[in-house]
């Protein structure tokens, strides 16, 4: 047993020294949960192209901000919105000028029943459902965008009593996919497969009904000295990364 532990440590030492010899670094990245799938794929491509590794932690953007304000160890932060990175910029925890929009979210009104949501979202006005799920507008950008759509369609008074609020879009998706809520607003990225809505029925909400859901990335001061951190930011703008981002139902800025 003692031998096993010693040899394990020797191996670990060997791996650490080997990786530092060829200048491949590891960066610790905080990623908004809605970007889990594309980011996992991007991290693989990043490793292949640059040799650096990205260690990904997934969670809610607001929680990451609280953690960073209290000494969280992350070096790069991919937020689900623009306001949280701006907050970090203002509090001096992030490198000024490093922030940019890596993806633009698409909102979709979705039901797990086929043929239930029509292609123009008329069902919101016709009604006939008991629950409309959305992410808490106070916490989640997709929830705030959904509120805007409902306001713009002048349906707030009739729909508000039917609201069930998910804490984030993942939970909102569970409310709808289990059929507890007949329909609701989530991110296209959650239900897309090969560029199409994989199951049920949905209405991709036109961009003019809400302000764009900008997802910004920012380099944190903790990552300024680690070459892998700025390299990841740069990699996010590469055609390879952007193709992955598009595949998962996001738009690219510009």
């Amino acid at each position: 047993m003692a031998f096993k532990i010693t040899s394990f440590f020797l191996w670990a030492l060997y791996l650490i020294s080997a990786s530092s010899l060829c200048n491949a670094e590891t960066t610790l990245v905080a990623v908004a949960s809605n970007f889990t799938k594309p980011m996992t794929e991007i991290a693989e491509a990043f490793k292949k192209t640059t040799g650096h590794s990205a260690n990904l932690a997934f969670g809610s953007s607001g929680k990451f901000v609280s953690q960073l304000e209290n000494g969280g160890p992350f070096e790069v932060f991919l937020s689900a919105d623009a306001s949280n990175p701006i907050k970090l910029e203002q509090s001096g925890l992030a490198v000024a000028g490093s922030r940019f929009t890596y993806a633009i979210g698409k909102l979709v009104l979705w039901s797990n029943k086929t043929g239930y949501v029509d292609e123009r979202g008329q069902i919101l006005a016709t009604g006939g459902f008991k629950h409309l799920a959305l992410a808490d507008p106070k916490l989640a950008p997709y929830g705030a965008a959904a509120m805007e759509v409902i306001r713009n369609m002048k349906l707030l008074d009739t729909l508000q009593p039917l609201f069930v609020l998910g804490e984030n879009i993942a939970q909102t998706y569970q409310f709808i996919s289990t059929g507890n809520a007949e329909l609701g607003f989530i991110a296209l990225s959650q239900i897309i497969d090969n560029g199409r809505i994989a199951s049920g029925s949905g209405w991709i909400v036109p961009n003019n009904l809400h302000i764009p859901i900008l997802q910004d990335v920012i380099l944190l001061k903790k990552g300024a000295e680690n070459p892998a951190a700025p390299a990841l930011l740069k990699f996010l703008t590469s055609p390879e990364a952007q193709a992955i981002i598009r595949k998962y139902g996001y738009d690219i800025a510009g």
């Binding site: 609280s66 069930v164 609020l165 804490e167 939970q171 569970q174 409310f175 289990t178 059929g179």
Partner: protein, 229 residues
């Protein structure tokens, strides 16, 4: 300070916890009695099932309740057949989830209290021709009073503090399913720290008082003191 919305969540929380505790005592008492007395080979399985919510992460339990109580789930189909509709996003659904989640905190102190009474007082009562019901209410309940107290307070307090389950099953609806723990979480997520501190302070004060009352009351009851160890 506390906003009216915060106060509404406190009130709703105590309502859910109070009603859930009543149901837990109602179901938990016969269950604990059976578990304390039976020699059945099912005893081990039943004990394990009752204790499961202690092990399962609350969001996992909440997710399965969401699936089971939903329109495609077994419980959901049953409640729809009864004409009650489905339970998620309702006050009743929250009570059902809370009862399942906090039941071990009620059953286990009761079971210990019943077991400690032993067979002798019951046999003595039987020789005096007391019916089982009479024995239960005249002998067992007074002797197990500290157990009932512990069970009620722990069940109530644990329901007040529950978070993961209500988050999954509740849907965060004001005055219906938005309880205090969810509200604190929302405040923190929205970076409204002072509101979160106030509400969390209230909850902390409450929990401390409950436990203080419990332990002071139990000091005078050697039997129950044993059962908490």
């Amino acid at each position: 300070m506390l906003s009216p919305a915060d106060i509404a969540t406190l009130w709703l929380t105590f309502k859910v916890a109070g009603i859930s505790t009543l149901f837990m005592l109602l179901f938990g008492t016969p269950l604990a009695w059976w578990l304390a007395r039976t020699e059945s080979r099912w005893k081990g399985i039943c004990n394990a099932v009752v204790a499961l919510p202690l092990v399962l992460p609350p969001t996992v339990l909440g997710f399965y309740l969401l699936v089971l109580m939903g329109p495609a789930g077994v419980i959901g189909k049953f409640t729809t057949w009864l004409g009650l509709g489905t339970l998620p996003f309702t006050f009743a659904g929250l009570v059902v989830a809370s009862v399942l989640y906090s039941l071990p905190f009620v059953v286990q102190p009761l079971q210990t209290a019943f077991a400690m009474i032993g067979a002798r007082p019951l046999e003595a009562a039987a020789t005096l021709r007391a019916s089982p019901f009479d024995t239960f209410f005249s002998i067992v309940v007074p002797l197990a009073k500290p157990g009932f107290l512990t069970a009620a307070i722990l069940g109530f307090a644990h329901t007040v503090g529950e978070f993961g389950v209500v988050l999954m099953v509740g849907g965060n609806i004001p005055d219906k399913t938005r309880v205090v723990s969810v509200q604190i979480y929302n405040h923190v997520e929205a970076l409204e720290y002072s509101e979160a501190h106030w509400l969390a302070g209230c909850l902390l004060l409450f929990s401390f008082s409950v436990l203080l009352v419990l332990y002071t009351a139990l000091k005078t009851h050697p039997v129950a003191h044993q059962s908490l160890k």
